[in-house]
Amino acid sequence: MIPEIGHFALILALSLALLQGILPMVGAQRNDATMMGTARTAAFGQFVFVVIAYACLTWAFLTNDFSVAYVAGHSQLDLPTMYKITAVWGGHEGSVLLWVLILAVWTVAVGKYSHSLPETFIARVIGVLGLLSVGFLLFVLLTSNPFDRLAVAPADGADLNPLLQDPGMAIHPPMLYIGYVGFSVAFAFAIAAMISGDLDEGWVRWTRPWTVLAWIFLTLGIALGSWWAYYELGWGGWWFWDPVENASFMPWLIGTALIHSLAVAEKRGLFKSWTLMLAIAAFSLSLLGTFLVRSGIIVSVHAFASDPGRGLFILTFLGIVVTSALVLYAWRAPSLDTEAGFAINSRETFLLLNNVLLVIATVVVFFGTLAPLVYEVLDIGKISIGPPWFDKVFLLPMLPLVFLIGIGMHTTWRQHKGNLLLGRLKIPAILSIVLGIAIPWLFYGRLDLMVCVGTTAAVWVVAASLVDPIRSWRRPEGAARITPAVLGQAIAHLGVGLFVFGVTIVSAFSVETDNSMRPGETLDVAGHAFELRELRQVQGPNYTAIEGIVEIRKDGKFVAEVRPQKRQYLVQKNWMTEAGINVHWNKDLFVALGDQLGNDTWSVRIQYKPMIRFIWLGCLVMALGGLIAVTDRRYRAPATQRVRKNKKKGKAVPEPA
C-alpha cells in the first residue's frame, strides 16, 4: 500500500509541477498577479508530494518490503539501518528520485528568499524550475519508477553494492546532486532574464550566492568522491579521469568560470551575455553528466548497469533544454550587453583570462571524454583516452591560470594603478621561487622542472592569497576590516594553492609497490619498514573478511599498525578491498591486501603518498572560502531594507541577531 501511495504522490507532484511550469510563465507574460502568485504555492505543493514519495520509498527500505523491485535489488535483511536509508539513492531509480527531491528543495528555497526581486522575474525563475521538474518527474514515472512491484516477492534482497556500504559513498551522491541541481537556479535565472529582455545588476547580485552555494556542494561532492575512490577502490589513486568523474568535473569547471564572470556582471555590468551562456552551459553539462552516467554509453570503471531507453530520454530532454535555451540566447542575449570599457591592466582582463582558460580546460575534458564515442560512431575504431593524455593536456590551461590567480586577485576594477609585483606581490613572488626550489630539494631530495614549477605555483597562490587577510589583521587603528567577500575569495584561492601543492608532491614523489608477502615478512618502502605480522579471519555484520595486521616502523621505532581487509559480502559473494591507511598531515602510508598467491602468501600493495591530504584539504578550503563569501552582507541588503520599511509602518520587527 505504502509504495502505491508513493507512486500516486509522484503523479500529483507531476501535475503540480506542470502548473508551476505553466501558470506563472503565462502570468508573467500577461502581467497577471494572480497567476504569478501561484508560483510559490505550486512549488511548495510539488515539494510536499515529492517528500511524501521519497518518504514512502525510504519506508519500503526500512520495512524490508522486497515486493518492491527496487528495494529487492538494493537492500537485504542484514543491511545496517544507516545503509538502508542511504540505499534509497544506491541505484538508478532512487537516485533520480533524490534528484527530483533536491530540485524541489532548491525551488522552495528560491521562492522563500526572493522577495526582493520583481514578481514577474521570480515567477519566470520558478516557472523554469517547474518545467525542469516536469522533465525529471516524467523521467522517473516513464522510465525509472522506483515503486514498481515484483510479481513474487523474494525472501531476501540482493543487497546494496558493497562498494556503496561506506559513509563517504553514502553522502557523496547527495552532495554532488545538490551541486548539479543547484546550477538549475542559475540556469532558470538566465532563462528568466532572457525572456524579460533585461538584466538588472540587482538580479545578478541575487544569483551570486545561489551559484556559489551550488558550486560549494559540487566541490565537496567531487572531493568526497575522490577521497572515497582513494580508500575504497584499493588502487591508491585519487583521480582517474574516468568519464563519470569528468562528468562531474565539467560542470565544476564551467561553474567556477560562472561565479567569476558573475562578479564582473554584478560589479561592472560587463560580460552579461557571456555570463548567461555560462549559466546555460553549467546546467547543460550537469544534464550531460547524468546522461553519460545513466546511459552507460561510455566505458567507465564507474558505469552502472544501464538501460538505453533511459539514455534516450535524457538525451531528448537535454536536447530540448539546450536547444530552447540557445535559441532564446541567440534571440535575446545580444540586446543585454552594456557598452563599457576597461583597461588591459584591470581586474576585468584577469577575470576574462580566467574564463577563457577554464573554458579551454572544459573543452579539453569534454573532448577527451567524448572522443571515444565519436570514434565509435564514425567507425574509426574503439579507442580509449587514458590519464596520461588528460594529465598532459589539462595542465596547459591550468598552469597559466594558477599563476594568474595570484595577480588577478590584487588588481582593481577598470584600471590598475601602480606596479603590482613591486607592491603587494613582492614577498609572495620571492617566497614562491625560493620555496619552489627549496621544498622539493630539502624534503624530497630531488629537483626536476615540473616539480619546481608546481611547487612555485602553489606557494605563489598561497602567499598571494594571504596578503589581504594579513594586511587586515595588521591594519592600523580605525582602518576598514576585510569584508567577507574579499576574505572568502582569499581563502578559496588559498585552497587552490594547497590543492596544487598536494597534487604536485604526490604525483612526483609517491612510491607505489606491489609485493608478495607472507606473515612475519618485512618490506622496506620509502624509508618505512612494513611487517605483515599475521593474517586472520574476522566477521562483520554482513560480510566475512581476512584481515592482515601490518606494523609500520621507521628507523626501528613503531609508527602505526594498520589492518587492511579483504571482505567477502555474504549475499553478493564478491570480494572487496578495504585498504589500511595510516594518515599523517604530510603523508599517507597505504596498505591493501591483494590476492592469495599460495598457502599463506598474499600479494600486498604498499604505497607512500606524501602530502596527499592537501588535495582534499585544498578542496575543503575552497568550499569554506565560498561559504564565507556567501555570508557577505550585501547579499542580504534587500532583506534589511524590508525590515526598515516595516519599521516605518510602525510594526515591531525584531532585529536579526
Binding site: 552507460g296 583597461a343 576574462l352 591493501a592 602468501t601
Partner: protein, 159 residues
Amino acid sequence: MKPRQQRMLAVGLVIVGVAIATGLTLQAMKDSMMFFVSVTEVAEGKYPADRNFRVGGLVKDGTVQREEGSLEMTFEVTDLRCDLGVSYSGVLPDLFREGQGVVAHGSIDENGIFVADEILAKHDENYMAPEVADSLADHVQDQTLGLQYGPEECPTGDS
C-alpha cells in the same frame, strides 16, 4: 579599452587558446590514445605491433595460473571464438574472476603473449564493458548457460 576592442581581444584570445590547445591535444592523442582490439582481431594479426592497446573478453575457466608465492600470473582471455594468453604481474582488481569480463592494457610480446601492465574489472558485477560485450555478441549462444563457444572457427594463428 573600447567595447569593440574588448570583444576582439576576447575572441582573439579564445581562438589562439583553442588553436594551441587543439594542436597540442592532437599531438598528445597520438601518444596516449589506446585502441581496443578484440581477441579474434589479435588472432588475425590485426593489432598495433609497436604500441600498447587494450584487449577484452572473458577470463577463460580453468586457465588462471600462478607459481605459488609469485606475483607473476597468466590466464587466457576469450571472446568465445579465439583465445589469447595474457601474463600480468601485480595486484588484481577485486572483481577479477574466471568467467568474468576483463579489459587489459598492454602489448603482444615476441611469443604472442599479451603482456598486461594494467587489468580492469568493473564495480558492478552485472555490468560488462560495452566494448567487451560487443566483441562477444556474435559468438555467444545463450549467456545463461555459461561460456558457449560460437559456431565460427577461430581464424588461423590461434595459439
